[in-house]
C-alpha cells in the first residue's frame, strides 16, 4: 500500500516536507523491532522481526501538529501509531493502513517544580536527560527497567513501568500526574490539574469524577491504542546520595567515583522461602534504594559488561536465589542507620553480605544502578532476551510464579530452543517498599534462529496459560484482541469493559489497537484480518 498523494500533501502541510517520509526504505526500518519476531510467531505468522510496514512516518514538533495528524487520519480512514523512543513491538503498526507518529522532535523538559517535586516533559526526553537536570536540584526520577535511554513520558502514560529503583521510585503507573492527551478523534484532553481553567498545573492527574488516569493507562498502558500523549507531569523523588558524578576511564571499562554513602549488599539466600522473608523485612524498613531478586545468571550479568566477564563472575554464579540491594544516604546518620538495619536483618536471617568480602562490585555498578542502566545487561549473554509473565502482585505470588515457572521453562531449555539458566532467571522487585511486587522471568534466546524464536513463542504462550490457570497475578503481556478475549472471560470479563472504553473514545479505531483492544465491528480491524 502507498499513502495517497493528497493525504501526503496534507501531512506535509502539517509537519513540513522534511518531517515526513513514505519511502519503502524508511518505512521498512519502522516496521522492525526487538521481539517482533516472537509476537509474529505467537500470532501464527512467520517469525520475522517486522510488523506490517507503515504507510509513512511523520515527525510532529508540537501538540498542534499531533492534532492535525490525528484529524487527517480520521478524515482518510487511516490508523496511527505513536512512538517516543520506540523500543519494543508495541511501537509497531498492526494494520497495513497505519502511519507512525514518531514524537522525536518533541523533546523538551518543560518544567521542573522542585517545591512540588514534579517535572513536566515531552515524549522524547530520555530518562537520563531528565535525571541529570534533576540531580543538580537534589532530585531523581523513576526510570523503567528498559533503561535510561527510553522515554519517561511513554512509560508514565502508555507502558507498564517497573524499574530497578522501584522500591524507592515507585512504578510508572503511580508516578503519572497531569497529562496532555490527544484523543483518537483529535480533541485535546488535559487530565487533572493540567485541565484547570484558572492557573492550570501538573500536580495531579485526577480531578472530580472517575479516574480518567486509570482509563488512560490502567496498570499496563494502552500502547498508543487510545491516542497520543504530548506532555506529562511526573512525580519526583529525592536523589538518594551525593549528586557528584565523576565517571573516569574509557569505554567499556569505566570507573565511577562512588559516593561515600552507598553500599551494595549481595546476599545468597539459598532458598525462596528465606529470600521471601529477607526481602519482606528489608522492605518493611524502607531502607533500600534498589532491592531485586535475581537468578545467579542475572546477578552475574549486572556486574559484567561482556559475556567473558559474566561467565568469569564465578562466585556469583554459585549463588542460589540471590538478592541484591543498594542502600544510599544523603547524610552520614541516614546511611549509618540503614547499614545498622541491614546488619540487623542479615543477622536475624543468618545471612551474610558477599559484596566487599567474597565479591567486589565494580565501581561503575554504582553509577549504573543510580542511572537505572542495569536492565540492558540482560542482552550480554545471547544478544536477545524477553521476559515472560510480568507478575504484579504480592511477593508470595511472585515467588510462587518463579518456582512454578521452572519446569515449564525447562521443557524449552531441554529442547535447546532457549538458553539454559536452569529455568531460574527472574527479576523481582517491590514498588514503594512493598506496596506491590513484580516478577518477570527473563528468557535468553537467539533472535536470528527461527527454531529458537518458535521455542520462545511457545514458552510465552505456556506462561500466559499458567498465569490464567494458576492465578499468578496480573501478567505483562496480555494485549491485543486475541489475548484479551481469551483472558477476559476468566477475569470478570474485563475485556468487554476495556472494549467499551475503546469504543467510547475511538469508535472508528483510528488509534492502532494492535497492542490494546479494538472496538466491535471495527472496519479497520476486519481489514487487518483480511490482509
Amino acid at each position: 500500500m502507498a499513502l495517497e498523494k493528497d493525504v501526503f500533501a496534507e501531512l506535509v502541510a502539517i509537519v513540513g516536507q522534511a518531517n515526513i517520509d513514505d519511502s519503502d526504505a524508511m518505512t521498512d526500518v519502522y516496521a522492525y523491532n526487538w521481539c517482533m519476531e516472537v509476537v509474529n510467531k505467537m500470532e501464527g505468522k512467520e517469525p520475522l522481526p517486522y510488523s506490517p510496514r507503515p504507510l509513512a512516518v511523520v515527525l510532529p514538533a508540537s501538540t498542534e501538529e499531533v492534532v492535525g495528524i490525528v484529524k487527517t487520519c480520521n478524515q482518510h480512514g487511516l490508523t496511527f501509531k505513536a512512538q517516543s523512543t520506540g523500543l519494543g513491538p508495541w511501537n509497531n503498526p498492526s494494520t497495513e493502513n497505519c502511519i507512525i507518529v514518531d514524537l522525536r522532535r518533541m523533546n523538551k523538559i518543560i518544567a521542573i517544580d522542585e517545591e512540588s517535586m514534579l517535572a513536566v516533559v515531552e515524549p522524547y526526553v530520555s530518562g537520563a536527560q531528565l535525571q541529570v537536570e534533576l540531580m543538580s536540584r537534589g532530585l531523581n526520577c523513576h526510570m523503567p527497567g528498559a533503561g535510561p535511554q527510553v522515554s519517561p513520558l511513554a512509560s508514565a502514560t502508555s507502558m507498564s513501568g517497573p524499574g530497578f529503583t522501584s522500591p524507592s521510585t515507585g512504578h510508572s503507573a503511580r508516578n503519572v500526574l497531569g497529562v496532555e492527551w490527544v484523543l483518537p478523534d483529535g480533541q485535546v484532553l488535559k487530565l487533572g490539574a493540567a485541565g484547570l481553567e484558572h492557573e492550570p498545573d501538573w500536580y495531579s492527574g485526577d480531578g472530580p469524577g472517575p479516574s480518567l488516569r486509570g482509563i488512560m493507562r490502567g496498570l499496563h498502558g494502552a500502547k498508543s491504542g487510545l491516542g497520543i500523549f504530548t506532555k506529562v507531569g511526573i512525580k519526583l523523588f529525592p536523589f538518594p546520595c551525593d549528586v557528584n558524578w565523576n565517571v573516569t576511564g574509557l569505554s567499556p571499562d569505566y570507573q565511577f567515583e562512588k559516593p561515600d554513602l552507598m553500599k551494595w549488599y549481595i546476599v545468597d539466600c539459598k532458598t525462596y522461602k528465606r529470600a521471601k522473608a529477607f526481602v519482606q523485612r528489608v522492605e518493611e524498613h524502607e531502607v533500600a534504594f534498589m532491592c531485586s531478586v535475581l537468578s545467579n545468571f542475572g546477578l552475574s550479568a549486572i556486574f559484567a559488561n561482556s559475556i567473558e566477564k559474566l561467565l568469569g563472575n564465578t562466585v556469583l554464579a554459585m549463588t542460589k536465589v540471590p538478592v541484591v540491594i543498594l542502600i544510599a544516604g544523603r547524610t552520614k546518620r541516614e546511611f549509618e542507620y540503614k547499614v545498622k538495619v541491614m546488619t540487623s536483618i542479615l543477622d536475624e536471617h543468618g545471612l551474610e553480605n558477599m559484596a566487599g568480602t567474597k565479591f567486589e562490585p565494580p565501581s561503575i555498578s554504582y553509577a549504573e544502578a543510580l542511572r537505572s542502566n542495569l536492565g540492558l545487561h540482560g542482552f550480554i549473554a545471547t544478544g536477545a532476551f524477553q521476559s515472560s509473565h510480568g507478575i504484579m502482585d504480592t511477593l508470595g505470588v511472585c515467588f510462587k510464579a518463579t518456582k512454578q515457572n521452572i519446569p515449564v521453562k525447562m521443557k524449552y531449555i531441554n529442547s535447546e530452543q532457549i538458553a539454559n539458566d536452569f529455568g531460574e532467571a527472574v527479576w523481582s522487585t517491590s514498588f514503594e517498599h512493598g506496596h506491590m511486587f513484580h516478577a518477570e522471568m527473563l528468557t535468553l534466546y537467539d533472535q536470528t534462529n527461527p527454531d529458537s524464536v518458535t521455542g520462545v513463542a511457545d514458552y510465552f504462550n505456556d506462561c500466559n496459560q499458567m498465569d490464567l490457570l494458576q492465578h499468578l497475578g496480573i501478567p505483562f503481556f496480555i494485549d491485543g484482541d486475541e489475548r484479551h478475549d481469551w483472558y477476559g472471560p476468566s477475569c470478570s470479563n474485563y475485556n468487554a469493559w476495556l472494549r467499551q472504553i475503546k469504543e467510547a473514545l475511538d469508535p472508528a479505531c483510528t488509534a492502532d489497537a494492535g497492542f490494546y483492544i479494538s472496538p466491535r465491528n471495527s472496519k479497520k480491524q476486519v481489514k487487518d484480518k483480511e490482509v
Binding site: A25, W34, A128, Q129, Y254, L376, T382, G383
Partner: protein, 429 residues
C-alpha cells in the same frame, strides 16, 4: 567482517536506541546527551546506527532494493563511529562497520557514492587531491623560513586539506618541528591523498590503489617515521592501511609527537596572557584511531546459545584513540587553561565534516558544526582547539555562521604561538 558475520549481525539490532546517545553513564547535561549528528539533524530512526543495521537487514533479506533513497540515508552520516562506541559499551554489534559495508555495496552496485563524492574521487585520481588543485602547487604552503632535510628519516605528511585549504596548520606544524630541532622531510609534490575520503565514500577499489601507491612512496623514501597533522591521514595510516598492506613505517600523530618533544625538553615556552581553551577530539584521531587487533581465537559454545571467545576478543570501543597526548600538550603551555566539553574522548561529538558529508550535504555539516560550537561555548572557553584540518574547516565555518566569538586554533598553532621567540628557527641551519 566476513559476509556471514555481516548477515548475522544485521539481524541483531535491539532497536534500543542506545546508539543515539553517548554512553548512558557519561551523560552530564540534557543538551549534550546525544552522539549521532545524523539523528540530530534528520531525526528519522533510519539515520541512526541501529536504523542502518535494520536497513542493511531489509536489503540483505530482499525486502527493499539498493536505491537512491537507501543511498541518501546511508551517506547522510559522518561515519563518526559514535554509534559504535555507545552500542559496544554492553553489546557486540558494529554499526559503523555495517555503514561502511553498506556504502561499499552501494558503490559496487553503481548506486553510490553521492555525485559530489564521485567528483572528488575523480579529482583525486586526476590530481592527487580532492580539491582538484594542481599537484605542482601542493608545496605552495611552505614558507621560506621553514627548513627541511631531504636525508631525514622522519617525514611530515601534510595531507591535502592542510596543503591547499588550511595552510596555517602545515606552516605551524613545520615551524614547531623546526623550533624543536626535528630533522624532517616533506614528500613534496609526490605526496598525494591518503585515501580517507575515497574509503569513507565506499570506493574500496580506488582506495586500494591509493594504499599501494602511498606505501610504495613511503618505502622508496627510506623514512622510518611519518608525522601526520591530519586526523584523517593518521587514521588511514594507523588503522586502515594495515588492513590491506603492511605499513613500512611508524606513524605518529602531530599531537603525540609534540607531546614527546615537550617531554624531552625540546620546546621552551614563553609566558603569555592567560587563555581558556577547550579541546575537540577529532573522530579519526580519537575513537576511530583505535587500531584493529588481530584475533585468532576460538568461539567456544559454553551452553546452547551462549558462546565465548577464547581468548577474549578485544572490543574496539575507542579506548585506543589519541586522547592524552593533546591534553598533556595543552595543559603544559604557560597561561593555557583547558576546560572540557561534556562530550569528549571516545564519546566526543563529531564536528560534522566527515564521511563525505561536507561535500555532499553541506547544510547538515554546518548544523553539526554549530552544535559543537555551542557546546564549546558553554564551557566558557574563548578558543576551541583541535588537531584536524577537516574539523578546522567545518568548525570555523560554524563559528562564522553562528557569529560566535570563539577563536579556533589547531594544536600546532597553539603551540607555535606559545614558543619562546628565541627558539623559533633554532634548526634553521
Amino acid at each position: 567482517m566476513t559476509s556471514e558475520e555481516y548477515a548475522r549481525m544485521v539481524k541483531r539490532c535491539l532497536r534500543c536506541s542506545i546508539c543515539k546517545w553517548i554512553p548512558q553513564v557519561q551523560i552530564k547535561n540534557a543538551k549534550h546527551a546525544t552522539i549521532c549528528p545524523s539523528m540530530d539533524y534528520y531525526n528519522f530512526h533510519a539515520y541512526s546506527g541501529g536504523g542502518k543495521l535494520i536497513l542493511a537487514n531489509s536489503i540483505e533479506t530482499g525486502r527493499i532494493p539498493l536505491s537512491e533513497t537507501v543511498r541518501d540515508i546511508v551517506y547522510k552520516c559522518t561515519a563518526c563511529g559514535g554509534c559504535s562506541v555507545s552500542c559496544k559499551h554492553l553489546n557486540t554489534l558494529e554499526p559503523l562497520e555495517v555503514i561502511q559495508l553498506l556504502r561499499e555495496k552501494l558503490v559496487a552496485s553503481g548506486v553510490g557514492p553521492m555525485p559530489r563524492q564521485q567528483e572528488y574521487i575523480d579529482a583525486i585520481k586526476r590530481t592527487g587531491n580532492p580539491y582538484d588543485e594542481p599537484a605542482s602547487q601542493r608545496m605552495n604552503w611552505l614558507p621560506d623560513d621553514v627548513k627541511t632535510h631531504d636525508d631525514a628519516d622522519i617525514a611530515y605528511f601534510v595531507g591535502c586539506t592542510s596543503s591547499y585549504r588550511r595552510k596555517e596548520i602545515a606552516i605551524a606544524t613545520a615551524r614547531v618541528l623546526n623550533a624543536a630541532g626535528t630533522r624532517f622531510k616533506l614528500f613534496g609534490s609526490n605526496e598525494s591523498c591518503c585515501g580517507s575520503p575515497v574509503l569513507r565514500a565506499g570506493d574500496v577499489e580506488s582506495f586500494k590503489e591509493l594504499v599501494g601507491r602511498n606505501i610504495d612512496m613511503f618505502t622508496a623514501s627510506g623514512v622510518k617515521k611519518i608525522i601526520a597533522s591530519c586526523a584523517g591521514c593518521y587514521d588511514m595510516f594507523k588503522v586502515e592501511y594495515p588492513r590491506f598492506e603492511k605499513m613500512p613505517v611508524d606513524i605518529v600523530s602531530a599531537s603525540e609527537y609534540f607531546n614527546e618533544l615537550i617531554d624531552g625538553g625540546k620546546l621552551v615556552f614563553k609566558d603569555q596572557e592567560p587563555i581558556t581553551v577547550t579541546y575537540h577530539d577529532p573522530c579519526h584521531l580519537g575513537r576511530g584511531a583505535e587500531p584493529y587487533i588481530d584475533w585468532d581465537g576460538d568461539v567456544v559454545q559454553m551452553l546452547p546459545m551462549v558462546s565465548l571467545n577464547v581468548p577474549e576478543k578485544p572490543k574496539r570501543c575507542g579506548a585506543g584513540g589519541v586522547y592524552e597526548a593533546p591534553r598533556r600538550v595543552i595543559t603544559r603551555l604557560p597561561g593555557v587553561q583547558l576546560v572540557e566539553m561534556d562530550r569528549i574522548k571516545e564519546y566526543s561529538y563529531c564536528c560534522g565534516a566527515g564521511g563525505g558529508v561536507k561535500s555532499a550535504f553541506p547544510d547538515f555539516a554546518l548544523h553539526t558544526g554549530q552544535t559543537r560550537i555551542t557546546e564549546a561555548e558553554s564551557t566558557g572557553a574563548t578558543c576551541i582547539v583541535s588537531a584536524c584540518p577537516f574539523c578546522s574547516s567545518n568548525l570555523q565555518d560554524a563559528i562564522t555562521e553562528s557569529k560566535s566569538q570563539l577563536q579556533y586554533k589547531d594544536i600546532a598553532e597553539l603551540i607555535y604561538d606559545s614558543i619562546d621567540p628565541s627558539m623559533s628557527g633554532q634548526n634553521n641551519e
